[in-house]
Amino acid sequence: MVAREANFFVIAALVLAGCAYKPDSFRQGSASFRGFYISVDCLDLGIDHRKRDNRMDVIAYEFGNRCDKPVVVDLAAARVYGRTADGEEVELYAFDPMSEIRPVRIDARAYGREAIEYPSSHTLDRVCIDAAAIAHVSPPNWICFNRRD
């Protein structure tokens, strides 16, 4: 019986050990982050762009806390701009009908992901996100996606 209990403890330890985010790994467990990789302060970010239709862009954020302290992930603060075919820049706002998006502290060495939709009244050729704003860091660090990609 003691041997079975010991096995249980070892398995539990291995499971928990596998849950921690490893800095610079850009992985959630066995799955790699999707999209463009960038490190901003304590956050390792994977930012991906999903096309919905001509007037709707979905940005998928995956993030891991590379530090041994909790940090804020503020997707509400992410500045997102679109550029139309004729060069006009349009600020985009998250689709958030229930006002869910807010700054949330993520635990040390934890990871998470969200997908946020940015509707627009224009047809956009390019969408850019300031990744630094997510971690409340300056200067801005722009990541851009062409809608043709």
């Binding site: 302290k69 992930v73 869910e100 993520i106 992901r113």
Partner: protein, 239 residues
Amino acid sequence: MPRTVAALTVIALALPSHSSFADDTFIAFPPNVATPYPDCAQLAGGGVVGRRNCPPYGMWGAAREAPYITVGLGVNFRRLPRRFAASTSSSTSSLARTTGAATITEPGTDTSYTIVESIDLALTSFSYVGLEIEISPSMPEHLAPGARTFAAGAQAVLGLRGGNRHLKLGVELAGGGRVIDSTGNYDADEPVLEARAFGDLWVTPWFTVGALVGASVIDRGDWVTGVQLGFHSWSYGGL
């Protein structure tokens, strides 16, 4: 054996069912497959905020929005001093020294090993309260005269702790009651008031292994040592 089953049942019920702190927001789980969020097996809107039914935004930060909780599992080795029931006659035992007290203590101890399950709730960064259930999975077949072995117990705990991302140290006071197997005719239900010190090593951000040592403050010669595993809801205990 029934005690072992009871102890394992308590442990199984107290273990967190989902230890991960990240969410699984836009994984398209196949139908009828168990997921961390059973009601979210069919995520609406590709898991996009505002179009999905669940989980709510920011589940990956839920651990830090809830109080810091630690679930502990451990094995203790308890050394209990022998006692003899008081008697008007001194002929009951050659070891017994009858006095006016209800019991007396003789040299010699008996060791019991126990399985302990605990849950702690942080009050501040350095203090916590908790509950413990402790049970001995073995029952002695023969007890020497005056011998006492631990059967089961429950304690409330008040403690202080601190440390860094490598080591956590703490002291705590546990009070409650316990049941003792013995050959004497004294009351086998005993109060407990125990002072302890412990040290834990962080193996992962949410998991520690450690050791403790303690002694009863009301029963001289009553000692405990133990090893413990800790499962923490905040990484590194909220450093």
